[in-house]
Point group: C2
Chain length 204, copies 2
């Protein structure tokens, strides 16, 4: 089951995904009509595009609660890419996307207890750009919010099974917590330390 709502041309995106997955004997259908559509699905793949447009569409179709319920009960595997990763977090407040449309709320699926910042990249020391760096933007998030944020660099993924979180890929990920220095998480099993644990990561 594929949810293409972050893009503009949904049918074209669904066709592309179906073409890629077909040779793996995976059948792809576009999620259209809400909870009933989800019933027979084993896997929900939510693709990339604009996070605000994606979340607004999920609200309009009343899909958030059915997805949340099926994933939490273990009957649906959730795979998100880019915008699809953002909405797996409690809110979309750490998206990089432009707010081109206004969803009724920034609250998202909350499948994990931390925020994700996809496409994370490190500040360029040679930049003359006066806009905020990605790290500064996440620090602004922590001026207003408590939830930890994992900055996922290109080529990385998080595998979440119940309480176990594994960082996949060759790169480290950057963990930001309110009131603590950012730390690098190594690939493999990761633990998100609470603030009281200080800056030590058990995975390092």
């Amino acid at each position: 089951m594929f949810a293409p709502y972050a893009g503009k041309d949904r049918d074209a995106y669904t066709s592309r995904v179906a073409e890629r997955l077909g040779p793996m004997s995976l059948e792809t259908t576009q999620l259209r009509h809400g909870a009933n559509d989800l019933e027979g699905a084993d896997v929900l793949f939510v693709g990339g595009g604009n996070t605000f447009r994606l979340l607004k569409a999920l609200y309009e179709r009343e899909l958030l609660e059915p997805i949340r319920r099926k994933v939490r009960s273990g009957t649906l595997l959730y795979i998100g890419s880019s915008a699809g990763t953002n909405i797996a977090a409690p809110t979309i407040k750490t998206t990089n996307d432009m707010p081109i449309v206004q969803p009724p709320s920034f609250d998202a699926l909350g499948l994990v207890r931390f925020q994700i910042n996809p496409h994370y990249f490190d500040p360029d020391p040679n930049s003359t750009h006066k806009g905020e760096t990605r790290e500064q933007r996440i620090q602004e998030f922590h001026e207003e919010n408590e939830t930890p944020v994992i900055g996922l660099r290109e080529g990385s993924a998080l595998l979440v099974e119940d309480e176990a979180i594994t960082l996949l890929g060759e790169k480290t990920a950057r963990l930001f917590r309110r009131g603590a220095d950012a730390i690098e998480l190594s690939a493999g099993a990761i633990v998100i330390p609470s603030r009281e644990d200080g800056a030590e990561s058990p995975s390092q």
Copy 2:
């Protein structure tokens, strides 16, 4: 009069601005209490930081309508920098900022009839980054919205007097319209052509 709501430490930011403007015999006070506070002011300077936090604060303080009214009637000069520029547009839908807090609406002051994208920068052809370029983000905006967008590069400003718009600085600005190719606007008096005018800019 200074509105520091895009930053976290408002008093520190106000002090910095007052220090800079003091030698020019300009008195700076922080905008705090709404419409009455604005009465004696000649100039309102709205600084940079996070656009979502700024707009949320202006809604909470019921400041949007008084500012709009005074600027439109010609009794208040508005100066915006970065986030302060974003909220001069009809909406904040072309901000680059992270949505760290949720304002009740994305509608902003609407002092001009176009959107502004501050800190605009051109795509880096050597980038391995898989996130959207700034130009792609603005194209996404035009998949959902009609309003023209001016991408303002670092060191540029727009001077708006009634209907006359002048691009200040040494760089060109990039004009995006729905359904038309983006064009470069030269410094000096600029005209935003309607879609029917095609891709020709009278200022070029």
